[in-house]
Symmetry: D2
Subunit: 287 residues, 4 copies
């Protein structure tokens, strides 16, 4: 089955009468066939959100002109913030890991299966432990050992590498380092982390140990965009699993790893499919 | 169907060889027929936990002597902390409420249905709003309006009332007051609260507002024993429900109320059935 | 806080370009302020679904003319099936019960709490067991004992009563009788049942016993509109809870009752709020 | 950390007084240090179930004599059915696949991570599609194309191979063939299947399509032991995920695959850890 070439528009703006009609009109009158449309109005913040996707086959505006036309004719008028993407342009994703392989494996298995519309030009790590996985799957694996002293310097090298490889976004697949402000600012809402707790509970290190100490009956995992405040960025996805008094820190970790990898992969898929819209530290996640 | 008269023993002690055999032996040789047995060994804390229930019909030790015999023959030897209860002695429960009725209704509907092996000699409130429910169901409803100034004084009166009515434990069914240390100390591990968040996230006031602000994708409710540290006592039960960007604080509250009442009622049932054992700020909850 | 008077339009029709714009335009140009809008396109069935709600305060079409205008100007053009309702007109709901009270209590507690925008002119039962609840809450309770012989005759009387009281929809709150075709046809997609299993598993009688026999690890409950095929109507809501080898039929029933009442009440709330749209044995449930 | 050598005893027998004491006594007096003990009494079937694991370091019975001693001294007396296994003897597992890789990848990623105490001498398939995965991970991959005509003949060859490689149990990781009675009888309660529905709903082919047609609001996956009746064997694990009217068959499949792989891997882990005990078409799954 040949896949359609589609354009995907993600929009948010102050809610006003007629926005939805205007956008669908723009697509319809120019002979675009809408294949996905979802919108959300946040009446508390008086903000309009929309994701629309249309088939480009008969669309009369050339694809390299769509952004300009849309901006001129509509976006400026409605004070829209928008992104335009095309389904046949794969975003480029870097995966950062440390020593644990479960999240990396889960992402790679989807990728190899053809399930992720993405390119993976590199895996980056502060340790060499998982290098064999990169080699097995033919993905360049770069090791940047990090100490207190060399941290900023190593991150500079990483950023250079990311720029050279035109990386669009970064997935922290249980990368056990705090990302510095410079890198965060270079990839706003484009660094996805998995935190192994139900945020905002158990921020920071060793959340399973803390959860065990607290005696919770449910543990969780949270994927979120990284911001400069630790574990406080916009949440994309969360999930939980029951534990009992029979569980130990060890079984918390074991049960938690299944959560972590699924929650992270779901977030990564949503991000790749342009279905996540971060706005004021919260996210709209289209279905 | 006539209900069996049973004895219920809840035990914890340092784990040693032969405890389980000793306890079951005590029951078996004295012609008690075990109808429930569950045990748990916490190998981290090296502690043994057990709940055993047996039919008293042919038991050769008179019921008013069981505690003494068990203590003398076994409990002292193994450094056990234990409680002995009888299924035909209903514990006496006070319900504390403020203005919201959903948790109160849920408990009362189970009670009226014959599903709770408990007596409810009173409902206590700092407001008169729900007095009509007490009247409708024929349960004495006592109003103790509370201000900063009269709080300790009012609690004293409440405690007197609780003592006079031989109340065994208290359920805070969305009672919007912090309980003072005196009352907590009089009812150790016998005050059950429902907190409308997934603890330890969102301790304190207005957790749904805080959860909305944080942009979580799942909300929760937690029932726990009240200790002197706010919302930090041993957790008995938790549950969660998904929310999306379409939810508002109002729908958080609405969805949350269904969680709150079920989570609280489950904890109350477990407590009444002597299935909860609090130990060092965690609980063992037998099935 | 005074509640707004709103109009609620539920629509489905073959998907065509411009429908959404047309409907929102109808409201906007006539000075209706939209307070809720959600739409869904089913690209498999090529069908458009929509729920829109707007404030009537400044709306220039008189409310008794809205239906006619909308039909003439839009609905006919787009082959729409639609219903128009007003938030200040409470639908009239009959509750059918047998001997179990948990679902009835749950609905009534929401109703008494002001949480259901509905009128309850009657409870109907084939047994007198729960009559006391009707009396306690001041709701007329009608007993129609049913035998094989008198079933159709009794249902005729029930239908007469339902007509006399202008009942809009019926909730079967664990009513242990199969509804006959005549009554189903008189209330198409307006009889809500709760089945105590995860449909389509365990259709028919004694689903908890069947689930226990099958050795499932999760049990469920399903609310659905009643159609002439047993337990096969459009599903509105489902939920599940975990069970283990420690559970028995008795604890299945106990855990299940909590599911049943919440799942049924959620479906009833959605129905009352005009958020359910049944289409070809499936439902669109707006958030 | 050096791993302990332990013995694991799985037992079931008619419930009688003193069994638990007898078994723990057997271990204790022979200087075995118990590291895990869980038991369950099914009072409906009057059957006792137990899993006990002990450190062999100081155990005075030689490990090759334990089975004989236990049988002679206890098992015969109590009519026990039991299995004895040692933690340092890895069971040998064959994985059967067809064309879908997600379950295979999930199992292999756990295996490579050191998380499965198992040996995988082979992957078997009726198609060559996933051969590259076997090659990548260095696991022999055997292709047995299956037609109506050659099915029994091919299965004979498979069984010969399984015998030659001393395979203990088989995992059907989305293997799209029905296993014949001969093979099932050779591996009683040792063939684990994943069915992509919440059994017993949607038995047989295309369960996601059937679930979509039925309009369910939750989909599930079930891992179970294979018996001669299709999809009717003892269930080991189930899990579910919510769907809405926005989902399609395609997204059912996508969401379902995440369920399938986790549910299957959990069942495989439990089986490897000797924590599953099948009894009369139900399972006891120890924690």
């Amino acid at each position: 089955m040949e896949k359609k070439q589609t354009a995907i528009l993600l929009i948010h703006c102050p809610d006003k009468q007629g926005i939805l009609a205007a956008v669908t009109d723009f697509i319809n009158v120019n002979k675009g066939n809408i294949v996905y449309l979802d919108q959300h109005v946040d009446y508390v913040q008086n903000t309009f959100f929309m994701r629309v996707e249309w088939d480009l086959k008969d669309f009369i505006i050339p694809r390299d002109k769509i952004e300009e036309y849309f901006r001129t004719l509509y976006a400026n008028k409605y004070d829209m913030v928008f992104t335009l993407n095309f389904s046949d342009v794969k975003p480029r994703m870097a995966i950062f890991v440390s020593k644990m392989s479960h999240c990396l494996f889960d992402i790679l298995s989807r990728y190899l299966d053809g399930g992720l519309n993405v390119e993976i030009p590199m895996i980056v790590s502060n340790h060499a432990d998982l290098q064999w996985i990169g080699e097995k799957f033919g993905i360049p694996f770069h090791v940047f050992p990090i100490t207190k002293e060399n941290k900023l310097e190593q991150e500079k090298k990483e950023m250079e590498l990311l720029r050279n490889e035109r990386v669009d976004f970064i997935v922290l697949a249980r990368y056990m380092q705090i990302i510095s402000e410079d890198m965060i600012n270079e990839f706003p809402n484009n660094i996805i982390n998995i935190h192994h707790s139900f945020l905002p509970a158990f921020i920071g290190a060793k959340p399973y140990h803390a959860a065990y100490e607290r005696g919770v009956k449910i543990i969780g995992a949270t994927s979120h965009y990284v911001t400069t405040e630790l574990d406080a960025g916009p949440i994309i996805e969360q999930d939980v699993v029951r534990v009992t008094h029979k569980d130990t820190v060890k079984t918390f970790i074991h049960k938690g790893q299944d959560l972590e990898k699924i929650v992270l992969s779901r977030a990564v898929e949503k991000h790749i499919d342009r279905k996540v819209l971060a706005f004021k530290n919260r996210t709209v996640v289209f279905s």
